[in-house]
Amino acid sequence: MKHSNDKSIKFDSLVLEHHVRLRAFVRSLGVDADWVDDLSQEAFMTAYEEWETFDSKRDFGKWVRGIAANIVRNEIRKQSRRRRILNSDLTHLLLNHHGQLAERSLPMTVVAIRACLAKLNSENRNIIQGRYVDGFSILELADRFGKSAANMRQILLRIRRQIRSCVESHITMEDYHG
């Protein structure tokens, strides 16, 4: 490893464990989709730099999400053309809302997401394929599936809700198993 020592090995495994939830969290604060990975990596880099201050008894996922939230907060102050967020008002709102919620901390996995996607009915799976793999717009999807654009948006909203809920229950069940 380029940064090969015990700290790095431990850190890499924590990154692999927590990156999915962190990326989802960063996006949920209204960060531009194209900048989610950049900002998430910046949070991990800060965590790496501040490693000595981290109490290993604490929840790493929660700590690094806190770092990410601070980075996002700083984005609001930037000039608009250099910002990685979609809209200051929206991100401000979402940061405040996040602060009022009980923090979820169990890691999410891509395996769990794929298991949840596999449970969708075939039409919804095809819609997801069209939207996220083939890159069709809402209008193209609506046309292909013989639905209105508004209806297609509603379907996608339902699917996203369903997937997120399924992934959370997957984690809870794994925890239950443990």
């Binding site: 380029k2 989802a24 604060l29 989709a33 194209d34 989610v36 996040h98 997401i113 997120r164 997957h170």
Partner: protein, 480 residues
């Protein structure tokens, strides 16, 4: 303004179609409504989770690799910029500064960026053999699933979408590259051959390359430099196994830059979590037997983990709906866990396969319910060879009587193109079959040819209906 407008704006937000004014309007609509704020967060999270699971360019290993490089540059005080950006529907953003990603990612980024650039595209290779379901993404991101043999290819990505698929490309200098099974290969438009094997099995017969322009093959965790040789590579997100049949290939482990030269009849395996020196091992005597590891060798199948997850959700829902007490749910769940532990098994998953003459999926629009293994992936793996009298022992079950297709793919011993073979058997319920390899028929209508002496690379079975409930509990190859 009510819910309709909120939902419309939220939908457009996720589609990336909101103006600055509309974004402010959405924020205003959600300002005093925690329920709407929650819904925005749920939708954005859901969007990100699905996007992550569907985009191979954003997987864990590439993410970690890019992060490690950024940390390296950061701690070394490098002044080089370190921002990373992906665009969801347009490829990679050209503000990406290459120094922070691994060599593999760099090649991929460069090649993908080139492919999606407007302008002329240089044909670099020709498709000379194609079988099963293939997808080509090139020419500005255009997707093509009707690939005819003889088609010229420029920069782009070729995906094999089913375990029984295969394709061979030939370059102008007669270098040939064959991929088989589930695989994903990206070609660059350079005059120098630059390829990225994201996953799958690849074998190549490489003509002598011009000086300073060796062929480069990237996998997720290794980089290969080839001047002229015959070799094969098995790659997945965590492992690269290189076997050289003739000549020499230089391999570099991307995690630490360690390099080694692999000669004829030698093999090297690079794992993502390797901490030890790069190992080069001589190919021992080939094996004639193989037993599938249901956890490690699986290429397609519904695993125990998936089954556990599904059952967990099922009992959880039952508790939620008052159909089961919490204690009963826990007991039921634990019994299910114990049952899974008692017997390893894999269930079939739906896969798009191209209809074939005489195949099981021909009358169903190309969908089969399939289980597949890659052979082999072990650390000390040596080629598994089929002998004249080899036989497969296959154990499993079906819920309803059905015709089940069993098949396998092989490569020639020298790593050049191989073939695929299948047989269809009528199955009633639990089964424990012993099938001589000689009864499997070659797939591409070239008559029955013996697979004897060839290296086994993929094994699969499939049924044409989910309700058949095809499961596999064991597969082994042996000879008397």
């Amino acid at each position: 303004m009510g819910d309709d407008r909120f939902v419309e704006l939220l939908g457009c937000l996720l589609d990336g179609e909101l103006s600055e004014d509309e974004l402010s309007e959405l924020a205003l609509l959600a300002k005093d409504d925690p329920g709407r704020q929650q819904e925005i967060q749920v939708q954005l999270e859901g969007e990100e989770l699905i996007a992550l699971s569907k985009d191979d360019l954003r997987d864990s290993t590439l993410f970690l690799s890019a992060l490690q490089n950024r940390i390296s540059h950061d701690t070394s005080g490098s002044p080089i910029g370190t921002r990373l950006s992906f665009t969801r529907r347009g490829g990679w953003r050209n503000v990406l500064i290459p120094s922070m990603v691994s060599a593999a990612a760099i090649a991929l980024i460069i090649s993908v960026f080139i492919f999606w650039s407007p302008g002329d595209h240089n044909n670099v290779a020709q498709l000379v053999q194609a079988e099963g379901l293939l997808r080509w993404t090139g020419d500005g991101g255009r997707i093509d699933e009707t690939l005819d043999v003889g088609r010229p290819l420029s920069g782009g990505t070729l995906e094999l979408l089913a375990p029984d698929a295969g394709a061979t490309l030939r370059f102008a200098d007669q270098t040939s590259v064959t991929i088989s099974g589930l695989a994903m290969l990206t070609l660059s438009e350079y005059s120098q051959k630059v390829l990225h094997l994201r996953y799958g099995v690849l074998s190549a017969n490489v003509s002598m390359q011009p000086e300073q322009e060796a062929m480069v093959l990237h996998t997720v965790n290794a980089e290969l430099l080839i001047e002229g040789t015959q070799f094969s590579v098995v790659a997945d997100p965590s492992l690269t196994r290189l076997t050289v049949h003739e000549g020499r290939v230089r391999i570099k482990r991307l995690s630490d830059g360690e390099e080694a030269e692999i000669g004829a009849a030698q093999q090297s395996i690079v794992r993502i979590d390797d901490q030890d020196p790069l190992r080069v091992v001589a190919l021992g005597e080939s094996k004639y037997s193989w037993r599938a590891n249901l956890a490690d060798d699986v290429a397609a199948g519904w695993s125990q983990e998936d089954a556990l997850s599904a059952y967990g959700t099922q009992v959880r829902n039952a508790v939620g709906q008052g159909e089961m007490t919490d204690a009963d749910a826990r007991d039921s769940y634990m019994q299910f866990v114990l049952q899974l532990k008692a017997e390893a098994r894999l269930g079939a998953v739906p896969m798009q396969t191209q209809s074939r003459t005489g195949g099981l999926s021909g009358d169903r629009g190309g969908v089969s319910y399939m289980i597949a293994f890659s052979v082999p992936r072990g650390n000390d793996a040596v080629p598994v060879i089929l002998a004249e009298n080899s036989h497969f022992r296959i154990q499993g079950r079906v819920q309803t009587p059905a015709d089940v297709e069993f098949g396998f793919a092989v490569l020639d011993a020298d790593g050049k193109a191989g073939g695929k073979y299948r047989t269809i058997q009528s199955i009633d319920s639990d089964f424990d079959l012993v099938l001589p390899a000689s009864i499997f028929e070659m797939l591409d209508n070239q008559g029955i040819q013996s697979a004897s002496g060839r290296t086994l690379v993929t094994w699969w079975c499939s049924a044409n209906d989910r309700d058949i409930g095809l499961e596999i509990t064991g597969v082994a190859l042996d000879r008397p």
